[in-house]
Protein backbone atom coordinates (compact mmCIF):
# COMPACT_ATOMS: atom_id res chain seq x y z
CA UNK A 1 0.00 0.00 0.00
CA UNK A 2 2.74 2.39 1.03
CA UNK A 3 4.82 1.71 -2.05
CA UNK A 4 1.73 2.19 -4.14
CA UNK A 5 1.24 5.64 -2.69
CA UNK A 6 4.91 6.46 -3.10
CA UNK A 7 4.83 5.65 -6.76
CA UNK A 8 1.82 7.75 -7.53
CA UNK A 9 1.95 10.64 -5.11
CA UNK A 10 5.41 11.68 -4.04
CA UNK A 11 7.17 14.06 -6.37
CA UNK A 12 4.09 14.78 -8.45
CA UNK A 13 3.34 17.96 -6.52
CA UNK A 14 -0.27 16.98 -6.14
CA UNK A 15 0.30 15.80 -2.60
CA UNK A 16 1.72 19.02 -1.19
CA UNK A 17 -1.51 20.83 -0.59
CA UNK A 18 -4.87 19.94 0.83
CA UNK A 19 -7.94 20.38 -1.41
CA UNK A 20 -6.02 19.52 -4.56
CA UNK A 21 -7.04 16.61 -6.79
CA UNK A 22 -4.43 14.51 -8.52
CA UNK A 23 -5.10 13.69 -12.21
CA UNK A 24 -6.60 10.37 -11.15
CA UNK A 25 -9.01 12.07 -8.75
CA UNK A 26 -7.41 11.61 -5.35
CA UNK A 27 -6.75 14.00 -2.49
CA UNK A 28 -3.39 12.77 -1.21
CA UNK A 29 -3.35 14.95 1.88
CA UNK A 30 -6.42 13.07 3.11
CA UNK A 31 -4.70 9.77 2.42
CA UNK A 32 -1.66 10.93 4.39
CA UNK A 33 -3.93 11.92 7.27
CA UNK A 34 -5.18 8.33 7.27
CA UNK A 35 -1.55 7.26 7.79
CA UNK A 36 -1.51 9.26 11.02
CA UNK A 37 -4.51 7.24 12.18
CA UNK A 38 -3.01 3.91 11.26
CA UNK A 39 -0.19 4.34 13.76
CA UNK A 40 -2.42 5.18 16.72
CA UNK A 41 -3.53 2.82 19.48
CA UNK A 42 -6.45 0.59 18.56
CA UNK A 43 -9.90 1.98 19.29
CA UNK A 44 -13.11 0.01 18.95
CA UNK A 45 -16.83 0.38 19.51
CA UNK A 46 -19.44 -2.36 19.87
CA UNK A 47 -23.15 -1.76 19.46
CA UNK A 48 -24.91 -4.28 21.69
CA UNK A 49 -28.54 -5.10 22.25
CA UNK A 50 -28.91 -2.88 25.30
CA UNK A 51 -26.07 -0.40 24.93
CA UNK A 52 -22.74 0.54 23.40
CA UNK A 53 -19.18 -0.12 24.56
CA UNK A 54 -16.17 1.98 23.56
CA UNK A 55 -12.69 0.65 24.22
CA UNK A 56 -9.19 1.92 23.65
CA UNK A 57 -5.68 0.50 23.70
CA UNK A 58 -3.78 3.34 25.34
CA UNK A 59 -0.08 2.84 24.75
CA UNK A 60 2.03 3.94 27.70
CA UNK A 61 4.75 6.11 26.20
CA UNK A 62 6.60 6.80 29.43
CA UNK A 63 6.95 5.34 32.89
CA UNK A 64 6.54 8.82 34.31
CA UNK A 65 2.90 9.06 33.24
CA UNK A 66 0.35 8.87 36.03
CA UNK A 67 -1.46 5.55 35.94
CA UNK A 68 -5.14 5.51 34.92
CA UNK A 69 -5.08 9.29 34.62
CA UNK A 70 -4.83 10.49 31.03
CA UNK A 71 -8.38 9.61 30.00
CA UNK A 72 -9.03 9.71 26.29
CA UNK A 73 -12.57 8.53 25.75
CA UNK A 74 -14.61 11.71 26.00
CA UNK A 75 -18.18 12.43 26.96
CA UNK A 76 -19.94 14.65 24.44
CA UNK A 77 -23.48 14.91 25.70
CA UNK A 78 -24.63 12.93 28.70
CA UNK A 79 -25.56 10.00 26.50
CA UNK A 80 -22.78 10.11 23.92
CA UNK A 81 -19.12 9.10 24.00
CA UNK A 82 -16.29 9.54 21.53
CA UNK A 83 -13.12 7.51 21.14
CA UNK A 84 -10.52 8.21 18.50
CA UNK A 85 -7.24 7.03 17.11
CA UNK A 86 -4.53 9.19 15.55
CA UNK A 87 -3.21 12.63 16.51
CA UNK A 88 -4.47 13.21 20.05
CA UNK A 89 -4.84 17.01 19.85
CA UNK A 90 -6.90 16.59 16.66
CA UNK A 91 -9.07 14.17 18.58
CA UNK A 92 -9.66 16.76 21.26
CA UNK A 93 -10.59 19.30 18.59
CA UNK A 94 -13.06 16.76 17.21
CA UNK A 95 -14.54 16.17 20.67
CA UNK A 96 -14.78 19.86 21.38
CA UNK A 97 -16.72 20.38 18.14
CA UNK A 98 -19.00 17.45 18.91
CA UNK A 99 -19.76 19.02 22.29
CA UNK A 100 -20.59 22.32 20.65
CA UNK A 101 -22.90 20.58 18.18
CA UNK A 102 -24.68 18.71 20.97
CA UNK A 103 -25.07 21.82 23.06
CA UNK A 104 -26.32 24.00 20.19
CA UNK A 105 -28.80 21.27 19.28
CA UNK A 106 -30.08 21.38 22.83
CA UNK A 107 -30.52 25.13 22.73
CA UNK A 108 -32.41 24.92 19.43
CA UNK A 109 -34.61 21.94 20.14
CA UNK A 110 -34.69 21.52 23.94
CA UNK A 111 -33.66 17.91 23.46
CA UNK A 112 -30.46 15.89 23.20
CA UNK A 113 -29.03 15.47 19.71
CA UNK A 114 -29.86 12.13 18.07
CA UNK A 115 -26.82 10.00 17.25
CA UNK A 116 -27.51 10.10 13.53
CA UNK A 117 -27.63 13.89 13.49
CA UNK A 118 -24.45 14.20 15.51
CA UNK A 119 -22.63 11.84 13.15
CA UNK A 120 -23.96 13.78 10.20
CA UNK A 121 -22.83 17.12 11.56
CA UNK A 122 -19.42 15.82 12.54
CA UNK A 123 -19.04 14.22 9.12
CA UNK A 124 -19.76 17.58 7.52
CA UNK A 125 -17.31 19.32 9.86
CA UNK A 126 -14.47 16.91 9.18
CA UNK A 127 -15.17 17.00 5.46
CA UNK A 128 -14.87 20.79 5.49
CA UNK A 129 -11.24 20.33 6.55
CA UNK A 130 -10.54 18.59 3.23
CA UNK A 131 -11.89 21.45 1.14
CA UNK A 132 -9.43 24.27 1.68
CA UNK A 133 -5.69 24.65 1.28
CA UNK A 134 -5.67 26.86 4.37
CA UNK A 135 -6.32 23.91 6.66
CA UNK A 136 -5.27 20.30 6.93
CA UNK A 137 -7.55 17.29 7.34
CA UNK A 138 -8.12 15.74 10.76
CA UNK A 139 -5.45 13.19 11.58
CA UNK A 140 -7.93 10.98 13.38
CA UNK A 141 -10.71 8.51 12.88
CA UNK A 142 -13.41 9.05 15.46
CA UNK A 143 -15.94 6.56 16.79
CA UNK A 144 -19.14 8.03 18.19
CA UNK A 145 -21.29 5.79 20.33
CA UNK A 146 -24.31 6.39 22.52
CA UNK A 147 -27.90 5.77 23.37
CA UNK A 148 -30.85 7.77 22.08
CA UNK A 149 -33.30 7.82 24.98
CA UNK A 150 -36.22 5.46 24.52
CA UNK A 151 -38.28 7.19 27.19
CA UNK A 152 -40.15 10.40 26.83
CA UNK A 153 -38.00 13.39 27.70
CA UNK A 154 -39.35 16.18 29.83
CA UNK A 155 -39.52 19.49 28.04
CA UNK A 156 -38.14 22.26 30.24
CA UNK A 157 -37.57 20.00 33.16
CA UNK A 158 -40.72 18.98 34.89
CA UNK A 159 -42.78 22.07 34.24
CA UNK A 160 -46.29 20.87 33.46
CA UNK A 161 -46.85 17.57 31.73
CA UNK A 162 -49.61 18.50 29.28
CA UNK A 163 -52.53 16.28 28.43
CA UNK A 164 -51.88 12.59 28.98
CA UNK A 165 -54.09 11.48 26.06
CA UNK A 166 -56.32 12.99 23.40
CA UNK A 167 -55.65 16.05 21.29
CA UNK A 168 -52.18 17.31 22.10
CA UNK A 169 -51.67 14.18 24.17
CA UNK A 170 -49.16 11.45 23.64
CA UNK A 171 -49.39 8.25 21.74
CA UNK A 172 -49.11 5.61 24.39
CA UNK A 173 -46.72 2.71 24.25
CA UNK A 174 -44.58 4.18 21.50
CA UNK A 175 -40.86 3.64 21.93
CA UNK A 176 -38.06 5.11 19.92
CA UNK A 177 -34.36 5.41 20.38
CA UNK A 178 -31.75 2.78 21.09
CA UNK A 179 -28.01 2.26 20.72
CA UNK A 180 -26.01 3.90 17.96
CA UNK A 181 -22.46 3.66 16.70
CA UNK A 182 -20.79 5.65 13.94
CA UNK A 183 -17.22 5.93 12.68
CA UNK A 184 -15.94 9.07 10.94
CA UNK A 185 -12.79 9.02 8.82
CA UNK A 186 -10.43 11.92 7.98
CA UNK A 187 -12.22 12.39 4.64
CA UNK A 188 -15.46 13.11 6.48
CA UNK A 189 -16.90 9.81 5.32
CA UNK A 190 -18.96 8.03 7.95
CA UNK A 191 -21.02 4.88 8.32
CA UNK A 192 -23.15 3.40 11.05
CA UNK A 193 -21.65 0.22 12.48
CA UNK A 194 -22.47 -2.78 14.63
CA UNK A 195 -18.80 -3.07 15.46
CA UNK A 196 -16.19 -0.48 14.51
CA UNK A 197 -12.40 -0.53 14.80
CA UNK A 198 -9.60 1.86 13.94
CA UNK A 199 -5.93 2.38 14.70
CA UNK A 200 -2.98 0.04 14.47
CA UNK A 201 -4.73 -3.21 15.37
CA UNK A 202 -7.88 -2.57 13.36
CA UNK A 203 -7.45 -5.61 11.09
CA UNK A 204 -7.27 -8.04 13.99
CA UNK A 205 -10.07 -6.20 15.76
CA UNK A 206 -12.35 -6.19 12.72
CA UNK A 207 -11.81 -9.91 12.21
CA UNK A 208 -12.87 -10.50 15.82
CA UNK A 209 -15.83 -8.12 15.63
CA UNK A 210 -17.13 -9.94 12.60
CA UNK A 211 -17.32 -13.15 14.63
CA UNK A 212 -19.64 -11.56 17.20
CA UNK A 213 -23.39 -11.70 16.98
CA UNK A 214 -24.19 -8.04 16.56
CA UNK A 215 -26.84 -7.78 13.85
CA UNK A 216 -30.24 -7.63 15.59
CA UNK A 217 -31.90 -8.65 12.33
CA UNK A 218 -30.32 -12.07 12.62
CA UNK A 219 -32.30 -12.69 15.78
CA UNK A 220 -29.73 -12.52 18.53
CA UNK A 221 -27.42 -9.73 19.51
CA UNK A 222 -24.95 -9.83 22.39
CA UNK A 223 -25.74 -8.03 25.63
CA UNK A 224 -23.89 -5.00 26.94
CA UNK A 225 -22.05 -6.99 29.59
CA UNK A 226 -20.92 -9.53 27.02
CA UNK A 227 -19.92 -6.57 24.87
CA UNK A 228 -17.69 -5.21 27.63
CA UNK A 229 -15.90 -8.54 27.93
CA UNK A 230 -15.53 -8.94 24.17
CA UNK A 231 -14.21 -5.38 23.86
CA UNK A 232 -11.53 -6.07 26.46
CA UNK A 233 -10.58 -9.32 24.78
CA UNK A 234 -10.38 -7.72 21.34
CA UNK A 235 -8.18 -4.88 22.58
CA UNK A 236 -5.85 -7.36 24.28
CA UNK A 237 -5.72 -9.45 21.12
CA UNK A 238 -5.10 -6.42 18.89
CA UNK A 239 -2.22 -5.45 21.19
CA UNK A 240 -0.39 -8.72 20.49
CA UNK A 241 1.39 -7.15 17.49
CA UNK A 242 2.96 -4.45 19.62
CA UNK A 243 3.50 -6.68 22.63
CA UNK A 244 6.78 -5.01 23.59
CA UNK A 245 4.95 -1.82 24.55
CA UNK A 246 2.92 -1.47 27.71
CA UNK A 247 -0.68 -0.34 27.47
CA UNK A 248 -3.70 0.55 29.55
CA UNK A 249 -7.21 -0.50 28.63
CA UNK A 250 -9.74 2.31 28.78
CA UNK A 251 -13.41 1.40 28.46
CA UNK A 252 -16.68 3.31 28.63
CA UNK A 253 -20.28 2.30 28.09
CA UNK A 254 -23.80 3.64 27.59
CA UNK A 255 -26.88 1.63 28.41
CA UNK A 256 -30.61 2.17 28.07
CA UNK A 257 -32.28 4.49 30.54
CA UNK A 258 -33.36 1.37 32.41
CA UNK A 259 -29.86 -0.18 32.27
CA UNK A 260 -26.73 0.03 34.44
CA UNK A 261 -25.69 3.52 33.31
CA UNK A 262 -29.23 4.95 33.21
CA UNK A 263 -28.77 6.23 29.68
CA UNK A 264 -25.52 8.04 30.53
CA UNK A 265 -22.09 7.63 28.97
CA UNK A 266 -19.77 6.52 31.76
CA UNK A 267 -16.55 4.76 32.47
CA UNK A 268 -17.00 1.01 32.89
CA UNK A 269 -16.81 0.40 36.67
CA UNK A 270 -13.36 -0.70 37.81
CA UNK A 271 -14.49 -4.08 39.12
CA UNK A 272 -16.18 -5.01 35.84
CA UNK A 273 -13.25 -3.77 33.80
CA UNK A 274 -10.75 -5.77 35.82
CA UNK A 275 -12.91 -8.88 35.49
CA UNK A 276 -13.07 -8.33 31.72
CA UNK A 277 -9.29 -7.90 31.62
CA UNK A 278 -8.78 -11.09 33.61
CA UNK A 279 -10.95 -13.01 31.13
CA UNK A 280 -9.16 -11.35 28.22
CA UNK A 281 -5.76 -12.44 29.49
CA UNK A 282 -7.07 -15.93 30.10
CA UNK A 283 -8.48 -16.14 26.57
CA UNK A 284 -5.13 -15.04 25.17
CA UNK A 285 -3.24 -17.67 27.15
CA UNK A 286 -5.67 -20.27 25.90
CA UNK A 287 -4.94 -19.22 22.38
CA UNK A 288 -1.19 -19.43 22.89
CA UNK A 289 -1.52 -22.95 24.24
CA UNK A 290 -3.56 -23.97 21.24
CA UNK A 291 -0.93 -22.57 18.93
CA UNK A 292 1.77 -24.47 20.76
CA UNK A 293 -0.23 -27.65 20.45
CA UNK A 294 -0.61 -27.07 16.74
CA UNK A 295 3.12 -26.62 16.41
CA UNK A 296 3.72 -29.85 18.24
Amino acid sequence: MLTHIRQTSIGTGYDLSNSVFSPDGRNFQVEYAVKAVENGGTAIGIRCKDGVVLALEKLVTSKLLKKDANKRIATVDRNVGVVYSGLLPDGRHFVSRARDEASSWRSSYKAPIPGSSLANRMGAYVQAYTLYNSVRPFGITGIIGGWDAETELAVDGSVGSGPKVGAGGKKQGVKEGGPFLYMIEPSGLYWGYYGAATGKGRQTAKAELEKLKLDPKNGECISLEEGVKEAARIIYLAHEDSKDKEFELEMTWVSAVGGPTKGRHEEVPKALREEAERLAKKALEGEDEEEEKMEE
Binding site: L2, I5, R6, S9, I10, D15, L16, S17, N18, F28, Q29, Y32, A33, V34, K35, A36, V37, E38, N39, S62, K63, L64, L65, K66, A69, N70, L87, L88, P89, D90, R92, H93, S96, Y129, N133, S134, V135, R136, P137, G139
Partner: protein
Protein backbone atom coordinates in the same frame (compact mmCIF):
# COMPACT_ATOMS: atom_id res chain seq x y z
CA UNK B 1 19.42 15.69 -3.11
CA UNK B 2 15.93 14.87 -1.93
CA UNK B 3 14.39 17.98 -0.50
CA UNK B 4 11.71 17.62 2.12
CA UNK B 5 8.74 19.44 0.68
CA UNK B 6 6.42 18.54 3.48
CA UNK B 7 7.92 20.72 6.20
CA UNK B 8 7.07 24.23 5.06
CA UNK B 9 3.87 24.69 7.04
CA UNK B 10 1.75 23.02 9.66
CA UNK B 11 -1.10 22.22 7.28
CA UNK B 12 0.78 19.61 5.27
CA UNK B 13 0.96 15.95 6.16
CA UNK B 14 4.00 13.98 5.06
CA UNK B 15 3.29 10.69 3.25
CA UNK B 16 3.84 8.96 6.61
CA UNK B 17 1.17 11.11 8.25
CA UNK B 18 3.62 13.32 10.13
CA UNK B 19 3.50 17.09 10.47
CA UNK B 20 7.09 18.27 10.35
CA UNK B 21 6.44 21.84 11.41
CA UNK B 22 5.05 20.53 14.68
CA UNK B 23 8.00 18.22 15.14
CA UNK B 24 10.37 21.12 14.54
CA UNK B 25 8.53 23.11 17.18
CA UNK B 26 9.22 20.27 19.59
CA UNK B 27 12.90 20.81 18.81
CA UNK B 28 12.60 24.39 20.02
CA UNK B 29 11.60 22.98 23.41
CA UNK B 30 14.79 20.96 23.49
CA UNK B 31 16.79 24.16 22.98
CA UNK B 32 15.46 25.62 26.21
CA UNK B 33 17.14 25.00 29.53
CA UNK B 34 15.88 22.09 31.56
CA UNK B 35 12.92 22.14 33.96
CA UNK B 36 11.78 19.35 36.26
CA UNK B 37 8.49 18.63 38.02
CA UNK B 38 7.43 16.05 40.63
CA UNK B 39 4.28 15.37 42.63
CA UNK B 40 3.82 13.61 45.94
CA UNK B 41 0.64 12.93 47.89
CA UNK B 42 0.83 16.41 49.39
CA UNK B 43 2.98 18.59 47.14
CA UNK B 44 3.71 19.51 43.55
CA UNK B 45 7.15 20.88 42.80
CA UNK B 46 8.87 22.54 39.88
CA UNK B 47 12.59 23.12 39.59
CA UNK B 48 14.30 24.96 36.78
CA UNK B 49 17.71 25.88 35.50
CA UNK B 50 17.93 29.54 34.51
CA UNK B 51 20.23 30.83 31.81
CA UNK B 52 21.75 34.26 31.46
CA UNK B 53 22.68 35.70 28.09
CA UNK B 54 26.02 36.94 29.34
CA UNK B 55 27.93 37.29 32.56
CA UNK B 56 26.44 40.66 33.50
CA UNK B 57 22.89 40.10 32.29
CA UNK B 58 20.04 38.94 34.44
CA UNK B 59 18.76 35.37 34.40
CA UNK B 60 15.65 34.44 32.43
CA UNK B 61 12.40 33.64 34.17
CA UNK B 62 11.66 29.91 34.06
CA UNK B 63 8.83 29.48 36.56
CA UNK B 64 5.69 31.61 36.38
CA UNK B 65 3.16 31.50 39.22
CA UNK B 66 -0.24 31.70 37.49
CA UNK B 67 -2.86 31.48 40.23
CA UNK B 68 -2.49 31.02 43.96
CA UNK B 69 -2.86 27.28 43.55
CA UNK B 70 -0.53 26.56 40.64
CA UNK B 71 2.29 27.70 38.39
CA UNK B 72 4.11 26.71 35.23
CA UNK B 73 7.71 26.05 34.25
CA UNK B 74 8.74 26.59 30.66
CA UNK B 75 11.30 25.31 28.20
CA UNK B 76 11.60 26.90 24.78
CA UNK B 77 10.43 30.25 23.46
CA UNK B 78 9.82 32.39 26.53
CA UNK B 79 7.60 34.83 24.67
CA UNK B 80 5.26 32.02 23.63
CA UNK B 81 5.14 30.94 27.25
CA UNK B 82 4.18 34.46 28.21
CA UNK B 83 1.26 34.42 25.79
CA UNK B 84 0.12 31.06 27.15
CA UNK B 85 0.57 31.96 30.80
CA UNK B 86 -1.34 35.21 30.33
CA UNK B 87 -4.15 33.20 28.80
CA UNK B 88 -3.99 30.82 31.76
CA UNK B 89 -4.13 33.74 34.18
CA UNK B 90 -7.25 35.08 32.48
CA UNK B 91 -8.96 31.69 32.48
CA UNK B 92 -8.05 31.09 36.12
CA UNK B 93 -9.42 34.45 37.19
CA UNK B 94 -12.58 33.84 35.18
CA UNK B 95 -13.14 30.60 37.07
CA UNK B 96 -12.72 32.33 40.42
CA UNK B 97 -14.96 35.20 39.36
CA UNK B 98 -17.83 33.19 37.86
CA UNK B 99 -17.83 30.16 40.13
CA UNK B 100 -15.71 31.19 43.09
CA UNK B 101 -13.56 28.13 42.67
CA UNK B 102 -9.94 27.61 41.64
CA UNK B 103 -9.76 26.15 38.14
CA UNK B 104 -8.90 22.45 37.93
CA UNK B 105 -5.40 21.84 36.60
CA UNK B 106 -6.74 19.25 34.16
CA UNK B 107 -9.14 21.87 32.83
CA UNK B 108 -6.63 24.68 32.34
CA UNK B 109 -4.17 22.25 30.76
CA UNK B 110 -6.67 21.01 28.23
CA UNK B 111 -7.63 24.59 27.41
CA UNK B 112 -4.08 25.50 26.40
CA UNK B 113 -3.85 22.15 24.64
CA UNK B 114 -6.89 23.01 22.55
CA UNK B 115 -5.47 26.43 21.81
CA UNK B 116 -2.17 24.96 20.66
CA UNK B 117 -3.94 22.44 18.44
CA UNK B 118 -5.59 25.21 16.45
CA UNK B 119 -2.15 26.52 15.52
CA UNK B 120 -1.28 23.17 13.98
CA UNK B 121 -4.29 22.91 11.70
CA UNK B 122 -4.56 26.33 10.10
CA UNK B 123 -2.36 27.96 7.48
CA UNK B 124 -0.54 31.13 8.40
CA UNK B 125 0.02 30.18 12.01
CA UNK B 126 2.91 28.41 13.62
CA UNK B 127 2.83 25.98 16.51
CA UNK B 128 3.90 27.31 19.90
CA UNK B 129 7.61 26.79 20.37
CA UNK B 130 7.42 26.07 24.05
CA UNK B 131 6.82 23.15 26.39
CA UNK B 132 5.33 23.64 29.83
CA UNK B 133 5.16 21.77 33.09
CA UNK B 134 2.06 22.77 35.02
CA UNK B 135 2.12 21.98 38.72
CA UNK B 136 -0.07 22.75 41.69
CA UNK B 137 -2.95 21.61 43.85
CA UNK B 138 -6.68 21.67 43.09
CA UNK B 139 -9.86 20.14 44.54
CA UNK B 140 -8.62 16.72 43.47
CA UNK B 141 -5.17 17.08 45.08
CA UNK B 142 -1.65 17.74 43.77
CA UNK B 143 -1.05 17.40 40.02
CA UNK B 144 1.64 17.71 37.39
CA UNK B 145 0.87 18.13 33.70
CA UNK B 146 3.13 18.35 30.70
CA UNK B 147 2.17 20.45 27.69
CA UNK B 148 3.80 20.08 24.28
CA UNK B 149 3.72 22.34 21.20
CA UNK B 150 1.63 19.75 19.35
CA UNK B 151 -1.15 20.33 21.86
CA UNK B 152 -0.54 16.99 23.52
CA UNK B 153 -1.04 17.16 27.29
CA UNK B 154 -0.12 14.44 29.73
CA UNK B 155 -0.61 13.99 33.43
CA UNK B 156 2.59 12.75 35.05
CA UNK B 157 3.96 11.73 38.41
CA UNK B 158 7.22 13.36 37.41
CA UNK B 159 8.58 14.95 34.26
CA UNK B 160 11.39 16.92 32.71
CA UNK B 161 11.62 18.91 29.49
CA UNK B 162 14.31 21.02 27.85
CA UNK B 163 17.97 20.56 26.95
CA UNK B 164 19.50 17.26 28.09
CA UNK B 165 16.32 16.50 30.00
CA UNK B 166 16.67 12.79 29.22
CA UNK B 167 19.21 12.58 32.07
CA UNK B 168 16.72 14.10 34.48
CA UNK B 169 14.02 11.70 33.29
CA UNK B 170 16.36 8.77 33.85
CA UNK B 171 16.87 9.95 37.44
CA UNK B 172 13.13 10.40 37.89
CA UNK B 173 12.30 6.97 36.48
CA UNK B 174 14.80 5.38 38.85
CA UNK B 175 13.24 7.03 41.89
CA UNK B 176 9.65 6.97 40.67
CA UNK B 177 8.24 4.78 43.42
CA UNK B 178 9.62 6.97 46.20
CA UNK B 179 7.88 10.21 45.21
CA UNK B 180 4.35 9.51 46.39
CA UNK B 181 5.23 9.37 50.10
CA UNK B 182 8.00 11.97 50.03
CA UNK B 183 7.99 14.85 52.47
CA UNK B 184 8.26 18.37 51.15
CA UNK B 185 12.01 18.52 51.77
CA UNK B 186 12.70 15.12 50.25
CA UNK B 187 10.72 16.08 47.17
CA UNK B 188 12.76 19.27 46.75
CA UNK B 189 15.94 17.22 46.98
CA UNK B 190 14.75 14.80 44.31
CA UNK B 191 13.82 17.67 42.02
CA UNK B 192 17.18 19.36 42.47
CA UNK B 193 19.08 16.11 41.97
CA UNK B 194 17.14 15.38 38.78
CA UNK B 195 17.88 18.90 37.60
CA UNK B 196 21.55 18.50 38.43
CA UNK B 197 21.77 15.30 36.37
CA UNK B 198 20.82 17.26 33.26
CA UNK B 199 23.62 19.81 33.69
CA UNK B 200 26.73 19.59 31.59
CA UNK B 201 29.92 18.62 33.41
CA UNK B 202 31.26 22.12 33.89
CA UNK B 203 28.10 23.48 35.45
CA UNK B 204 26.75 23.67 39.00
CA UNK B 205 23.42 24.59 40.49
CA UNK B 206 23.74 27.91 42.29
CA UNK B 207 21.40 30.33 44.03
CA UNK B 208 21.61 32.46 40.89
CA UNK B 209 20.72 29.90 38.24
CA UNK B 210 18.12 27.79 40.05
CA UNK B 211 14.42 28.37 40.62
CA UNK B 212 12.03 26.25 42.63
CA UNK B 213 8.23 26.48 42.67
CA UNK B 214 6.21 24.70 45.33
CA UNK B 215 2.50 24.16 45.80
CA UNK B 216 0.93 21.98 48.47
CA UNK B 217 -2.28 20.98 50.17
CA UNK B 218 -1.48 23.39 52.97
CA UNK B 219 0.36 26.07 51.02
CA UNK B 220 -0.17 28.34 48.03
CA UNK B 221 2.07 27.98 45.01
CA UNK B 222 5.17 30.06 45.56
CA UNK B 223 8.32 30.75 43.61
CA UNK B 224 11.59 30.41 45.54
CA UNK B 225 14.79 32.00 44.26
CA UNK B 226 18.13 33.37 45.40
CA UNK B 227 18.96 32.98 49.09
CA UNK B 228 15.59 31.29 49.73
CA UNK B 229 16.93 28.15 48.06
CA UNK B 230 20.47 28.31 49.43
CA UNK B 231 19.87 25.86 52.25
CA UNK B 232 18.12 23.38 49.94
CA UNK B 233 21.06 23.42 47.55
CA UNK B 234 23.45 23.01 50.44
CA UNK B 235 21.66 20.05 52.04
CA UNK B 236 20.99 18.37 48.70
CA UNK B 237 24.55 18.46 47.51
CA UNK B 238 26.32 18.46 50.88
CA UNK B 239 28.54 15.46 50.13
CA UNK B 240 30.04 17.22 47.20
CA UNK B 241 30.30 20.50 49.08
CA UNK B 242 32.33 18.81 51.81
CA UNK B 243 34.86 17.55 49.29
CA UNK B 244 35.44 20.93 47.75
CA UNK B 245 34.77 23.25 50.60
CA UNK B 246 38.05 22.82 52.45
CA UNK B 247 39.17 26.31 51.51
CA UNK B 248 35.71 27.67 51.96
CA UNK B 249 35.58 26.68 55.59
CA UNK B 250 38.86 28.40 56.22
CA UNK B 251 37.52 31.60 54.77
CA UNK B 252 34.50 31.40 56.96
CA UNK B 253 36.73 31.27 59.99
CA UNK B 254 38.60 34.31 58.77
CA UNK B 255 35.49 36.36 58.30
Amino acid sequence: MFRNNYDNDSVTFSPQGRIFQVEYAQEAVKQGSVVVGIVSKSHAILAALKRNAEELSSYQRKIIPVDTHYGVALAGLASDARVLSNFMKQQSLASRLTYDRPILLSEITSRIGDRAQTNTQHYGRRPYGVGLLIAGVDARGPHLFEFQPSGVTLECVAGAIGARSQMARTYLERNLDAFEDCSRDELIKHALRALKDSLSQDKELTVDNTSVGIGGLEENFKLYEGQEIASWLETTFENKAEGEAGGGEGMEVDS
